[in-house]
Every structure is written in structure tokens, then in C-alpha cells.
């Protein structure tokens, strides 16, 4: 089953990214194909330059692990990146700058779509 999850709020300020990662990991472990679409301030979840304090979780690193080890797909709204000054070279490995056409494709082609409201 193809499952897509949209996140809109900034990581660390809110819990959406953490929840999305837990859902994604549980779904990947069951053999589902999972894509996370980062929209608005959520794009910072794919910023490799994020540096949380040592006792806190590293969200971009966790996303990168799921991409590399479990095949998670991470798409990022390109316009949202530009608005927030997030350069492509700062992205975690495997995350893809995309846009609303890709979100539309995810909605059209996924078997399930979830979103965390702003």
C-alpha cells in the first residue's frame, strides 16, 4: 500500500514531524511504501544543518536514516524552501525538492493520504 503523509508545521516547535516519523516507520516496517511531503515551515525537518542539543532528537538525521535504511521518500515543497532560505545543498541525503505537482501526484496515486493540520 502507498501511504503519503503531509506535514506543515516546523519541527521542534511542534510534534507533527515526530508523529509523522513514527507513523512512517511503523508503516515501512509493515512493508508499505511511505512518502512524507514537507510543506511550509516543515521543510526545515530536512535541513542537515539543524543542530539540536545533545539530549534532544535529531529529526533530519532520523529522516535520513529512514530514507537510506527503509526506503522512505521525502519530498519537499521547493517554493517553501526558497521562502525560508533553505538551499538544496543543505538538504539531508535522499530528500527531494519538489512542489505542488508532486503533492498532487502523491494524493492521486497513494492508497492513503494523511495530513497534520497547521
Amino acid at each position: 500500500m502507498k501511504i503519503a503523509i503531509q506535514v506543515m508545521t516546523p519541527p521542534y516547535s511542534y510534534q507533527d514531524m515526530d508523529s509523522a516519523i513514527k507513523i512512517a516507520e511503523a508503516a515501512l516496517n509493515k512493508g508499505h511504501e511511505v512518502a512524507i511531503f514537507l510543506f511550509a515551515d516543515a521543510v526545515n525537518a530536512a535541513n542537515s544543518r539543524v543542530k539540536p542539543i545533545r539530549v534532544d532528537r535529531n529529526i533530519p538525521k532520523k529522516l535520513e536514516e529512514l530514507i537510506k535504511e527503509k526506503g522512505l521518500r521525502v519530498d519537499i515543497c521547493g517554493l517553501c524552501m526558497e521562502y525560508r532560505g533553505l538551499a538544496e545543498e543543505a538538504l539531508i541525503e535522499g530528500a527531494r525538492p519538489s512542489g505542488l505537482p508532486e503533492l498532487a501526484k502523491l494524493i492521486a496515486e497513494s492508497d492513503r493520504f494523511l495530513s497534520f493540520s497547521a
Binding site: I3, D16, S19, I23, A26, K30, D111, R112
Partner: protein, 89 residues
């Protein structure tokens, strides 16, 4: 059949509209601050089964069995996602 995802508590303007759209065949999941609904009488009027994410519930200082709500983990949430084609959230 839709999965209704509630991530804010009862005081939030959007969440009541989501819950009141529920039909019997749907299911609602309280996630993050949505678990505060578990302490709220309004939840008794929900027309569909309602679950709460156990980790989010316990992390906010509640105890298992404190309220009349079934606690679920993320594997169970994925099963609900599998079973429900529609989504409200």
C-alpha cells in the same frame, strides 16, 4: 470509512468539526494534544470508535485506565490507516 485524526484538544476550533462529521463506520484517533479529549465529556457523543495514541497519552501524565478510551500504538494506527480509505485531519 474515514480515519479522523485529532491533534488538538477540545478548545481548538477545528477539532469539534472533525469529530462531529464522524459516522459509525469511521474511526477517530487522538494524537498529540488530541488526547486531552479523553478527559472531556464531549467525547461520549462521538458516533464512531475513538482511540488515543498510548505514547502521547502517557507522556502527558495520564495513567492507563484513567479514562474510558482504548490506547493504541503506532502499529495499530497503521492498521486503522489500512482499513480506512478516507481521511479527515
Amino acid at each position: 470509512m474515514s480515519l479522523i485524526l485529532i491533534k488538538y484538544g477540545p478548545d481548538h476550533p477545528a477539532e469539534g468539526a472533525k469529530l462531529s462529521s464522524a459516522k459509525e463506520a469511521d474511526c477517530a484517533v487522538l494524537i498529540q494534544n488530541g488526547v486531552y479529549w479523553a478527559a472531556c465529556d464531549a467525547l461520549k457523543d462521538a458516533k464512531c470508535p475513538v482511540y488515543a495514541i498510548k505514547d502521547d497519552f502517557l507522556a502527558r501524565g495520564y495513567e492507563e485506565g484513567q479514562f474510558d478510551i482504548e490506547l493504541i500504538d503506532y502499529d495499530a494506527l497503521v492498521e486503522l490507516i489500512e482499513r480506512n480509505e478516507g481521511f479527515v485531519g
